[in-house]
Symmetry: D2
Subunit: 248 residues, 4 copies
């Protein structure tokens, strides 16, 4: 997978929130084999020992600062600029949510923020709803990827509207990353089968009863879904079909 | 997984019908890492060179003869006895179907055949519908596993009634193997997340556009689903939940 | 709808269990416009004033005795014979369940009981699971209708496997009545759209917060689903289709 | 149902496009018992005999002009002003779609148009996607109702994301009308059960094989779903629940 000119072998992007300890987080990140991990700016203190930043750094994982907790384009811009300065990266996972209860993206503020951040030279990866029209608009203003939700953040509801995800995939010329809603391995596999380029998740791993085991499950599920998509599945049939008489 | 006292590391049981060539079949079986593979008796000629039997033998895969094409308990018994003699195994995958169009199991003939085969000393693995009551009955007459369908054979419709599969898993004291209906990787993962002990499939691999790639996808999907089940997934929530403030 | 030579205008068959009072039950039955209602034998005392029997009688509703609570063919036969004697009807809704927890039909006992009751001259309407093979077998032994479940009794889970219901409808030459699992109006409509000839429900009405209002909802839903089936719905399309330019 | 101070007994709003003839359209509208019907401005020639306008007028159905075919806020404003002048109504069903293939609303243009039309004194009923945030924004700028889609126009895919519709209903203080995607009666009933105040549909009726029969089905389905919502359905249960012992 190539995002903004950078190649990634892993198609699993992770978050860090919710882990019971830094130790467990580190083991889960290792098990996931992720190469790209989002962190909220406030969690990143490059000077501190034992920080999330430290964990990412020593595991060779690229940090992707996000604008979690921003409710307006203005907030998001300020946060993105601080992140760029602190982390020396112009990559930003753009989140502009509308309210605390649903944490759903605000489409107007999001598009506004995306356009302005692109203008300022950021590589913008926006967390968006599953609206194919908004996804296209975000691509048109220059986003490096689009990250539609499967379901609300932390809900574990899976992919509520696979049809919309397929519409987004069909039209996109930048990577499509399912973001939010994934609760278990089969849903991560399904996202890839629908044609997504990658899966982004946090809580599904960090708040599982065994985060490290779940991290490995997600890694395998993403690989499985990706391979199944490329392998060309059998068509769905209304009635049964016996196996062919024999190969020998 | 232990079936009738035999341990298996792999939880993916495969079939052989539908493969474009023996060469592709062999590569797909290797990619799947399966340790147990069903074969229709008519396809097994231990004396012939280049047979399916040969492929299984040299890859160390245990053959599981099946009674595909049998419509009555009597037919199934005769076929099972022939298989035992030819293959020197008393394991039998019992299939007694009701008609060509749906290939659905006939519950009455199936139960009758299962009981009689157990009496004759067979280790019986019955392909059954997804009725929890019939599954329990099959276990009660001494079957070594129960193999409920997800959907009709070759349909690729996935698991039509996850609720029934969960009911079967809750009550079973023998391994539960989903059998038939699986079309793609996410469905195999889901079967394991529902609590199945293994996944049985044939067409989904042999008739995929790239059988070898799909075989690897199914292997990973089964592992992913199994791990996700054990890892304890996050609960489903109606509303969003933000990641916790910080771990550091 | 014609069952065993008797015509019914209403396609909603109701039960009586669970109602908060006889008064509410009577109003709900009236609102439902049902013409056929099952009653457990133990609830029917033709001599008693104020009984369910009395309610049915004065509203011109045909009683359909059932064998609720029977776990074996023998139990069901005894109950059916008592009902015939007490109610002077040879119609029987045959229920032979496997256990208290799921109340799922026992396929072997059910088929056995059905065959014997038909031999004794009963008009048999069996409550069955959603297995198309068992449904066909029940028809073959002479049942006057088949009554597959949508989901376990009282679960309100709706129709768990619409594909199976469609298979049953396609092959049946006797009326198909969805029985059990319906929780709300849209599910009753769906049953009819799938091609069922009627809907049977009890708890969904009697235990609703407002049973009389729900009874009317179910009546309208059954009519709506039946009409929609006959009206020939538009095909499902992957993409949008604008309305035609103009009719004028 | 009250929209912008006007009461409606019927909760079924219809469209006129796609009907095979004016005669069939008129019969279908009558069967639907609708009181509010959208028409594209180009179809309305108040002076012409035998127009859709004529049909609505003589059946006492309130016309709701729409801005079908508009791709920008500017287009929509012009169309709305023309409609107001031609039809002497300030009600407008606002449609601003992004492309011909999906006919999905453009969230940015839609919100812009809505705000400006409200400022010009229109009573605005916007066709929107199923995003709860956009729905709330539309309400905040003064729309008289919100009309989220179930699925793309003319697709007959039903309600793809019931969870989003529920979120919209929970927060809305104006009527919520499901608009687009409904293909059959059970889906109309479901929309009402989810808490929608009304159902808007066109193609599902006009392009059914028997539009008049389907119109009646939709009328009954909307009533059924509305009553079922108010009646308080039984909770969903994982296991069976027998009817209570007896009411008598």
């Amino acid at each position: 997978m190539v995002i903004a000119g950078c190649s990634f072998t892993s198609r699993l992007i992770t978050g860090t929130g919710g882990a019971p300890s830094l130790r467990v987080l580190e083991d889960a990140l290792a098990a996931s084999e992720t190469e790209l991990t989002t962190v909220a700016l406030r969690r990143v203190s490059p000077d501190a020992e034992g920080s999330v930043w430290d964990v990412l750094h020593r595991n060779g994982i690229r940090p992707l600062p996000n604008t979690a907790g921003c409710f307006t384009a203005g907030d998001a811009l300020r946060t993105a600029r601080l992140a760029r300065e602190a982390l020396e990266t112009d990559w930003i996972k753009l989140e502009v949510v509308a309210d605390e209860r649903t944490l759903l993206p605000d489409p107007v503020e999001l598009l506004d923020a995306a356009e302005r951040l692109v203008d300022e030279g950021f590589t913008v990866l926006p967390y968006t709803n599953d609206d194919p029209v908004l996804a296209r608009r975000l691509e048109q203003v220059g986003c490096a990827a689009v990250m539609p939700l499967g379901a609300p953040i932390g809900s574990g509801l899976g992919i509520r509207n696979p049809h919309n995800i397929e519409l987004i995939v069909e039209q996109a010329e930048v990577p499509v990353v399912i973001d939010a809603g994934i609760g278990t391995a089969s849903e991560a596999a399904l996202a890839m089968e629908l044609g997504c380029d990658a899966v982004m998740l946090a809580t599904a791993v960090t708040r599982a009863q065994d985060p490290v085991l779940m991290a490995g499950a997600m890694r395998d599920a993403v690989n499985a879904g990706r391979a199944a998509r490329r392998a060309g599945r059998i068509p769905v049939r209304r009635y049964a079909q016996a196996s062919s008489p024999a190969v020998d």
